[in-house]
């Protein structure tokens, strides 16, 4: 396969994953604003930070208002992280790698782009927001379904999967990075209303709310949430799950190409940090530092994969 094509597939999957993640964050923020009068500005600031575009937002808007935040996150063409921009880049990458995709996958991406482009043509009224957000997630699910159901399990599939898992791990880590402080043990009695709001926000941002409650049966503690999102390999957005999958996909590439490359070692090292630890252990040695380092190492893995498989010249 061409290095350029591998890169295109990797980024196609990253962008698709990213659009879905952004939509989920907006959804969590929106719900928060609806249910808690007190949330407001801080919550949107933290959503913007998680997506990585708070500074860009501030450069354009003086205050953080829900409408302009939602608009900036969903449809601002000047914001490279907006759902609009990200979907456009996903579609460009799909066009560039058209020969590696099945007709089903290409049409799912192309359809998704056409539907969203139309929906995001005008500012989204509050009443339409739930519909728009669920459409973003649906389109992404359609692409994933087409990928799963129609693609050969070869290097093409591996590069797509590596892209989406690296992006997803990054996203979950960013949610934790922005909110790590509410997960730290404090002197305050557990279950104060503010904490509850924040915990709910974290779980919603990772689509983890109902599965968490189902597994923990009412036992909502910050430690359990942190454990769930970092170490629980059953949870498809946890760091452990992502790295299980990454190790798998890299191994499959190794078998197909008959060699191992530096990225394989790097991924194994990162995975070891997740499997050899307990949550107490991580919190004791510094939750925030742990997350920070993880984000850096995850990004380093991404660029090692780029180098190892010659995405660029």
């Amino acid at each position: 396969m061409l290095g350029k094509t591998a890169g295109g597939l990797f980024w196609l999957s990253r962008y698709l994953e990213r659009s879905e993640n952004t939509a989920r964050l907006v959804e969590a923020g929106f719900r928060m604003a609806l249910t808690r009068a007190a949330a407001g500005e801080d919550e949107w600031a933290s959503v913007l930070t998680t997506v990585g575009c708070l500074n860009a937002y501030r450069a354009k808007h003086e205050t953080i208002a829900p409408n302009s935040a939602v608009d900036f996150l969903l449809r601002d063409k000047t914001n490279p992280m907006s759902v609009y921009s990200v979907m456009q880049m996903a579609r460009d990458n799909a066009r560039a790698t058209r020969t590696a995709l099945t007709r089903e996958v290409w049409e799912a991406v192309n359809d998704g782009w056409m539907v969203l482009k139309e929906m995001l043509r005008r500012p989204v009224a509050q009443a339409d927001l739930p519909n728009v957000l669920s459409t973003v997630r649906q389109q992404s699910a359609l692409v994933r379904g087409a990928l799963q159901g129609t693609m050969l399990r070869n290097d093409i599939f591996s590069f797509s999967r590596i892209g989406s898992l690296i992006e997803r791990a990054d996203n979950t880590a960013r949610i934790l990075d922005v909110k790590y402080y509410v997960l730290l043990p404090t002197g305050a009695p557990v279950g104060s209303s503010l904490d509850n709001v924040q915990w709910e926000m974290i779980l919603r941002s990772a689509s983890a709310e109902s599965s968490f409650h189902w597994l923990n049966a009412g036992n909502v503690t910050p430690k359990a949430i942190a454990e769930f999102l970092i170490l629980d390999a059953r949870m498809p957005r946890s760091l452990a799950f992502c790295y299980d999958g990454l190790i798998d996909s890299l191994r499959e590439l190794g078998v197909e190409y008959g060699d191992t490359r530096p990225s394989h070692d790097l991924a194994a090292k990162l995975e070891a940090r997740l499997t050899g630890r307990t949550i107490d252990n991580i919190i004791d040695s510094g939750l925030h530092e742990f997350i920070r380092e993880f984000i850096k190492a995850n990004a380093a893995l991404a660029s090692q994969v780029e180098q190892d498989y010659r995405f660029y010249e």
Partner: protein
Amino acid sequence: MGGSTVFFDEMRGPDESARQPYAEYCAWLESVKINELHKKSREAETFFRRTGITFNVYGEKDADERLIPFDLVPRIIDGKEWRLLVRGIEQRVKAINAFLHDIYHRQEILRAGRIPEHLIANNEAFLPEMIGVTPPGGVYTHIVGVDLVRTGANEFYVLEDNARTPSGVSYMLENRETMLKMFPELFSQIKVQPISNYPTLLRRSLGKCAPVRSEGRPTVAVLTPGLHNSAYFEHAFLADQMGAELVEGHDLRVVDGRVAMRTTQGYQPVDVLYRRIDDEYIDPLNFNRSSMLGVPGIMDVYRSGGITLANAPGTGIADDKAIYSYMPDIVEFYTGQTAILKNVPTYRCSEADSLKYVLENLHELVVKEVHGSGGYGMLVGPAASKRELAAFRAKLIAKPSNYIAQPTLALSTVPVLTRSGLAPRHVDLRPYVLVSPDNIDITPGGLTRVAMKQGSLVVNSSQGGGTKDTWVLEE
């Protein structure tokens, strides 16, 4: 063109009865409501958008991709008519390849005085780098698109030979796919010759032209200028259908005397490159130095027999519009036979008598740039305003050798679906020809282009033309 001209309609005769090839189709048509057709037409458009069958128009601000209008009334040719065309096209394509070999080697045709020497020597399309070079398998034009027009029941003319990189074949294939989806019942009633194996034949035909040095199954790649090229969809489509890699210039480099592509597992040699980039841009070391699209040094590899380029560089000398007028001589010189397909009478403006005639009759003629394509830089006399005529007159006088002129042909019509029902529009036809060392394959039918505007004779997609599915009936 005056209102008195009667155009040949391919569907119905002067008495409104269906011509024989259309008999079954017209019977079906009578059973269908026009609303139903409109609905199908909208469905077809959605299908094209979803599939991404789009093109980019140069020079438009809104760089959005556009659809080429698709008309769902098929253009039907019967088997016998088609057999005649096939013979004519084969003859012509053989002659073109023989001409190219000759012109880059012994130049017998010039020595015989059948073509004036200055026409070759001073021609920008003649590539001195190709002198003495024989392409692998001796094939110059692996893919040819011969543009035909029809003016009567048995009257076909070749409008031009596209011997460089003819485009549009993806529309031919997708038009058929769309028709099969929209009107399955028609295809079970009417036996239409299939075309869907074109990509397989293309792959095979290119493979047969691989350099001698290549081992095993030849590696074929399609070279595209990139995402923003107007025909990017087609490049991706063909690569996909052939199972070939779609590469850009920066994916390729010369490694150990071969052209190799950067893969996830290092550089791997390419045997056959189906390049959709003009000669000028293909090698910044040998041609246009500022080209970002090509591969530095690829011409040197080519000349040493390390790679096959399809089509070969320098084939433009065969489809040059100034050479066109000599095609009947060329066919006769190399095949020893009279040309089966007619040429449109052509005035070479480089000749004083012709120029005089052209200037006097500009309002009745079609004038084309010798090196132009895509319907750009062309004058359709009968449709031009006084001001346009005057402007063109000035251009002609300034550089006569840059132009040829032809009488305005009474192009045949086929109905298209309009808001108010079916209405005749002018069409042309581009059959696609695959050439390998031992075989010439012509896909039954080709791309029918149709001028969507009433009375218009310009069918180019860049000028708002549309396309139709083309049916060749089984005999």
